[in-house]
C-alpha cells in the first residue's frame, strides 16, 4: 500500500528522478532546489549541485532558504565569485543540467519570470526578473523545468521571453547560436511533458497517478498534444516521501 501524498510532492519526486549520479546540475532556488536535494538524499548521492551564488558541489543536509545560505558555502567543494560561476563554469558548457522553475511557460517551452501583461513598462504583475536563467537556459547541455500546471502558468505564448526554450519552433536554437540543447523535460503537478522531436511542441507523455490527460489539457492555454504512448508515473516510494518531508521540515532551519 502506498502512503497518501500531495500533487506537489509527486511533482518534486518526479523532478528528483530526472537527476542521476555524476550529473552536474545548476540549481535554481525553490522547487528545483528541493528536488535536487531530494535526488541527492535518495537515488543520486553523487549528483553535483551548483548554485549561482558560486558554490560548486554544495552538499547541504537541509534545504537552503536562499541561494546564499551559509550551508551551501560550508559544504561546497569550492566557493567561487559570481563572475566566475557564470564565465568559467556555465558559459563554456561545463554543466549538464540546468534546473529551472518559471512563472509562465509556453508551448515551445520558453520561460517568463519578468512581467505578466503585454506592456513591459506598465505590467499587471512585476515578477522578480531573469536572475541567472537566460544563460542557464542557453548554455547548460540540457534543461529541466519544474512548475505547477494551470491556465495562468501554461500559456500559448509567454508575455515576455526571459529564457529561451525552443523560440518559435524547430531550428530556432541553432539559428540563435545557443550551445545547449534546451528543455529536455517539463515536470508539473499533473504530469510530465517533453518536446516533440519534430515540432518542438511540449507534449504530455506521462500523467501522475490520479491525474488524467483531460486534467492536463484543461490546465493548458493551448490545445495540448498528448502522446499516443501516454503512461502513468510511478507514485512516490515510502523512502522518497519520508526523505522529502524530512527535508521540507528543515527549510530555513
Amino acid at each position: 500500500m502506498t502512503a497518501a501524498y500531495t500533487s506537489d510532492e509527486m511533482m518534486t519526486v518526479a523532478a528528483a528522478r530526472q537527476l542521476h549520479n555524476g550529473t552536474v546540475c545548476f540549481v535554481g532556488i525553490g522547487l528545483p532546489s528541493t528536488a535536487a536535494n531530494l535526488a541527492r538524499a535518495t537515488s543520486a548521492p553523487d549528483v553535483v549541485l551548483i548554485y549561482e551564488s558560486g558554490t560548486l558541489g554544495a552538499k547541504p543536509d537541509r534545504l537552503p532558504l536562499s541561494i546564499g545560505d551559509g550551508i551551501l558555502a560550508e559544504t561546497a567543494d569550492a566557493v567561487v565569485s559570481v563572475p566566475e560561476v557564470f564565465n568559467y563554469w556555465l558559459q563554456p558548457g561545463r554543466i549538464d543540467v540546468g534546473f529551472l522553475s518559471a512563472a509562465q511557460i509556453d508551448r515551445y517551452a520558453n520561460i517568463n519570470t519578468t512581467v505578466i501583461g503585454a506592456d513591459y513598462r506598465h505590467p499587471k504583475v512585476r515578477l522578480p526578473g531573469a536572475g541567472g536563467a537566460p544563460e542557464i537556459a542557453a548554455s547548460c547541455r540540457e534543461v529541466v523545468v519544474v512548475l505547477r500546471q494551470t491556465l495562468r502558468t501554461f500559456v500559448d505564448r509567454v508575455d515576455f521571453i526571459t529564457s529561451v526554450g525552443f523560440g518559435q519552433g524547430p531550428g530556432d536554437r541553432q539559428r540563435l547560436g545557443l550551445s545547449g540543447s534546451g528543455p529536455r523535460v517539463v515536470i508539473t503537478d499533473l504530469g510530465i511533458l517533453t518536446p516533440d522531436p519534430e515540432t518542438c511542441e511540449l507534449t504530455l507523455v506521462r500523467v501522475h497517478n490520479g491525474s488524467t490527460a483531460e486534467d492536463a489539457r484543461a490546465a493548458s492555454g493551448w490545445p495540448l498534444a498528448v502522446s499516443p504512448e501516454l503512461s502513468t508515473t510511478a507514485p512516490p516510494t515510502e523512502e522518497e516521501l519520508t526523505v522529502l518531508r524530512r527535508l521540507e521540515a528543515t527549510k530555513g532551519a
Binding site: S53, A73, S81, F86, G132, E135, T162
Partner: protein, 272 residues
C-alpha cells in the same frame, strides 16, 4: 589608504543626492546598517544598482530614495515578491522607478569590466530573449577575430559602492570570506567606497577562501557590528530567516511599511 570613520560620517562623505550607488551582497553580507543610515540621511534621486535587490533596496525604494534601479533579480529570496519594488513599478508609489534590467551574467560582467578599467564586457547572453528590446545597455558585437556575433554590455562605474565584510585591521585592510558574490568587483569598479565591518582587529589571520581588499583599494571603513542583519555574516551571525518572512506582511501595506520604517529605522539611531 582607507580611513576609519563612523557609519554616519562615512555615509555623509560617500553618498550624495543623485549618485549611482551600489550595495552588493549575494544573500550573505548585505549592508543593511549602511542602507538604514542612507535612509536616515534622506538621500534622494539615487540610481540604485545591484544584482539581487532584496529587502534593503525594497526599503530604500519605498522611502523614496531612488528614481532608477539597475538589476537582474528583484525578489525576497526564499519568500516571494518585493512589495515596495512592485508598488513603485506597478503604481509609481512613492515615485516612478525607471528600470534597467539585465541577467546575472550580464550584471556580473558589467562589474568585471568596471573593475578592469574597460568600457564594456563581452559575453554569450540574452540572445533570443525579450530583454535587449527593453534594455538599451545590451547590444550585439562582432568578434574581430572570428566574426562571431556576441553580446556587449557597458561597464558599471558607480559613484560609490558599499559592502559589508567580516573585519578589517587597523591599517584598513578588509578581510571577508564565505559567499562573496560580486563584492570585490563592485568595490574596484567604484569611484568611492565604504566598507562596513563586524569588527576591527590587530591582525587578519587567514580564513578559508578569503578575499582581502588592501587598504589602498578602498575609501572608508566603518565598524557596524550586526550590520548585515537580517542577512548574515559567516563566522559572526546567522540569517534571520523569520524576518524575511515577516517582511512580506510588513511591506505589503504602505501604512504598515511607513510605520515600521519610522519605528525601526528613522527613530532608531545606532550608538556611535
Amino acid at each position: 589608504m582607507a580611513e576609519i570613520v563612523s557609519l554616519s560620517d562615512g555615509i555623509a562623505a560617500v553618498v550624495h543626492d543623485g549618485d549611482t550607488l551600489v550595495m552588493e551582497g549575494f544573500t550573505h553580507l548585505i549592508p543593511f546598517a549602511a542602507g538604514h543610515e542612507i535612509i536616515r540621511q534622506r538621500r534622494h534621486d539615487l540610481t540604485l544598482v545591484r544584482m539581487t535587490p532584496d529587502l534593503i533596496y525594497d526599503q530604500l525604494i519605498g522611502m523614496g530614495c531612488a528614481t532608477k534601479l539597475i538589476f537582474s533579480w528583484g525578489g525576497n529570496p526564499g519568500v516571494g515578491s518585493l512589495h515596495r519594488f512592485r508598488d513603485a513599478v506597478e503604481n509609481s508609489w512613492p515615485l516612478p522607478l525607471d528600470l534597467e534590467e539585465h541577467s546575472h551574467a550580464g550584471m556580473a560582467n558589467r562589474y568585471l569590466a568596471g573593475a578592469s578599467g574597460l568600457p564594456f564586457a563581452v559575453l554569450r547572453g540574452y540572445v533570443g530573449t525579450d530583454l535587449p528590446a527593453q534594455t538599451d545597455t545590451i547590444r550585439p558585437i562582432t568578434c574581430p577575430f572570428t566574426g562571431e556575433v556576441l553580446t556587449a554590455v557597458p561597464a558599471l562605474s558607480p559613484d560609490v559602492t558599499i559592502i559589508h565584510a567580516q573585519r578589517a585591521d587597523r591599517k584598513g585592510n578588509v578581510q571577508m570570506w564565505g559567499i562573496l558574490g560580486v563584492q570585490k568587483e563592485a568595490v574596484l569598479a567604484a569611484k568611492r567606497s565604504l566598507i562596513t565591518v563586524e569588527e576591527i582587529v590587530d591582525s587578519l589571520d587567514p580564513k578559508p577562501q578569503e578575499v582581502v581588499l588592501p587598504s589602498f583599494a578602498t575609501t572608508y571603513i566603518a565598524v557596524a557590528p550586526g550590520g548585515a542583519h537580517p542577512s548574515y555574516a559567516q563566522g559572526y551571525s546567522l540569517r534571520d530567516n523569520a524576518f524575511y518572512t515577516e517582511w512580506d506582511a510588513i511591506s505589503k501595506d504602505r501604512e504598515t511599511f511607513l510605520r515600521w520604517m519610522d519605528e525601526n529605522v528613522i527613530r532608531r539611531v545606532p550608538a556611535a
